[in-house]
């Protein structure tokens, strides 16, 4: 599903963020990417969604070589990859329903289809009773569920979760991870970027460890070890 071949990325000649990264994430896998701050985890996510371009190497996503992806093609890439972040990125003046609908509206989906899809997605994330509330009227965990719903509306092949539990308490964090596992069961490849030791250890799934931009560990049923 996701293949990195000798990937290098530097923001400046002296700041090498990714160094000779090689990895292969198979379809339907649940992979955690761990590492300390500045190890290159977020850059790894950015190059996967076409937000940053790599300096060397090759990236293939679902058979699509996105190494030199053009700016016109980036929107089509992002419809195949759902992304969630620590800060949720919800629009405060829109309800949760409208926030999710926004993702479909801006991609030109008809209103009828939007009205059909959203209640179903909201049910998957457990927000069917709260979808007409505004972000400030729900908890952090519910905000993250709404963000996951928004990421899922395009039925992506891959879901990238960049520190999705960073702003949540342990209970809410656990619920979000359960939701990600649930989504993974339906066949969506999930890449979880996290430095939450307990969560990664609890998952007992594949763990890729990054250090100074290089992969220093890749274990099938790994644990958080730094």
């Amino acid at each position: 599903m996701i293949k990195f071949f000798n990937v290098y990325k530097a923001y400046t000649p002296k700041a090498q963020v990714l160094k000779d990264v090689n990895l292969h994430i198979r379809p339907g896998e649940f992979v955690s990417v761990v590492g300390q701050s500045g190890s290159g985890k977020t850059t790894l996510v950015k190059v996967m969604i076409g937000e940053e371009k790599i300096n060397e190497g090759k990236i293939v996503l679902g058979g699509w070589d996105i190494t030199d992806i053009g700016w016109r093609e980036v929107p089509y890439l992002r419809r195949q990859i759902g992304v969630i972040f620590q800060d949720f990125k919800l629009l405060p003046k829109k309800t949760l329903f409208e926030n999710v609908a926004f993702a479909l509206e801006v991609c030109g989906q008809p209103s009828k289809r939007i009205k059909d899809i959203i209640p179903r997605v909201m049910k998957i994330v457990g927000l069917e009773d709260k979808m007409h509330r505004y972000p400030h009227e729900v908890s952090g965990g519910e905000k993250q569920r709404a963000a996951i719903a928004r990421a899922l509306v395009h039925s992506p092949k891959v879901l990238l979760a960049d520190e999705p539990t960073g702003n949540l308490d342990a209970i809410n964090a656990g619920e979000i991870i359960d939701l990600l596992l649930h989504i993974n069961k339906f066949g969506t490849t999930v890449v979880l970027v996290s430095h939450n030791k307990e969560i990664v250890n609890r998952l007992n799934k594949r763990v890729i460890t990054l250090e100074d931009g290089s992969i220093v560990g890749d274990r099938e049923k790994g644990r958080y070890m730094l």
């Binding site: 929107p75 991609c107 030109g108 008809p110 395009h154």
Partner: protein
């Protein structure tokens, strides 16, 4: 699909305008000022052309003949002048006709009429009034008429109309140049203001734009609302200038009628009959400027 996208684009664009209502108002005011200066320029041109037209229509050469000149000699001289290539027409005013015209012109001046009665005879002379085919040929014509030697000619009156037209043209040229400079300044300010308005709108929508990018919105869907905002600014600007300029023209019209008495100069009619050319072109011009400024701002500030 196309109409749905267009509808959503216009919806987002209108949200921009209303969420930044004061910024939108200032932008439209600057646009209206720019359009006002352009229309004033056009008005000066119309009035200048009208003034030149009035003077050109008045251009003639009066040939005063001796009172004792015989009718047949006068008719022969008239025919001779009519044969000149520069002449459009020659009007003969006999002594009697001249007296009638004089009396009519002074009908409200009893002292002059009394003096005329006391004189006991017609003091006026027969006249030939010569109109040129083209006002530009007036020099040639005066030269040709000057060459005519005929005993019945008493005097010739060549008013220097060319100098008058020259002066009017000089004034309208100066006003046009000043107006052009003013319009250019306003257009530049408009460009900057629109650029800034769109930039602020982009900052206001920064989070939305980021989310749009994140969820795979097409680039055109991100840019288009801002380009449409530029188009809407142009539309509102032109609508407001129409609403403002017509009352201004209506106020001006009586003064123009009083100034150009006897001539049909109607600026309201002119703007009515050229409505689509004037305001349509202004809309297209301002829309082009706005789209340029919006495109420039979006390219600069909405990059991924």
């Amino acid at each position: 699909m196309f109409f749905l996208s267009l509808y959503r684009t216009i919806k987002f664009s209108l949200q921009d305008l209303t969420r930044n209502i004061w910024l939108s108002a200032v932008t439209i005011i600057i646009l209206v000022l720019a359009l006002f200066s352009i229309n004033m320029l056009l008005l000066v041109k119309i009035i200048g052309d009208a003034a030149v037209g009035v003077i050109k229509e008045k251009i003639d050469i009066s040939l005063y003949l001796k009172p004792e000149a015989e009718e047949k000699n006068i008719i022969a001289l008239k025919a001779q002048i009519e044969n000149l290539s520069e002449v459009k027409s020659v009007k003969y005013i006999s002594k009697e006709d001249a007296l009638e015209i004089f009396k009519q012109n002074n009908s409200d001046n009893p002292e002059v009429l009394q003096a005329l009665r006391e004189l006991g005879k017609n003091p006026l002379t027969p006249t030939l009034i010569i109109q040129p085919k083209n006002s530009d040929q007036i020099d040639n014509l005066t030269h040709e008429i000057d060459k005519i030697q005929n005993d019945i000619i008493d005097s010739k009156n060549f008013t220097d109309y060319k100098a008058v037209i020259g002066r009017i043209n000089a004034v309208t040229d100066k006003v046009t140049k000043a107006g052009l400079l003013l319009s250019a300044i306003f257009i530049f300010i408009t460009l900057m203001v629109i650029f800034n308005s769109i930039r602020v709108a982009i900052y206001t929508h920064n989070m939305e734009i980021n989310i749009m990018r994140l969820v795979g919105s097409s680039n055109s869907f991100i840019y288009m609302p801002f380009l449409i905002s530029g188009l809407l600014y142009a539309l509102f600007g032109v609508v407001f200038i129409v609403l403002l300029f017509y009352p201004f023209l209506s106020l001006l019209q009586p003064y123009l009628e009083a100034f150009f008495v006897g001539y049909n100069i109607n600026v309201v009619d002119y703007f009515n009959s050229h409505f689509y050319e004037i305001f349509g072109l202004e809309f297209l011009g301002i829309a082009a400027i706005n789209i340029l400024a919006s495109w420039w701002a979006t390219r600069r500030y909405t990059q991924a």
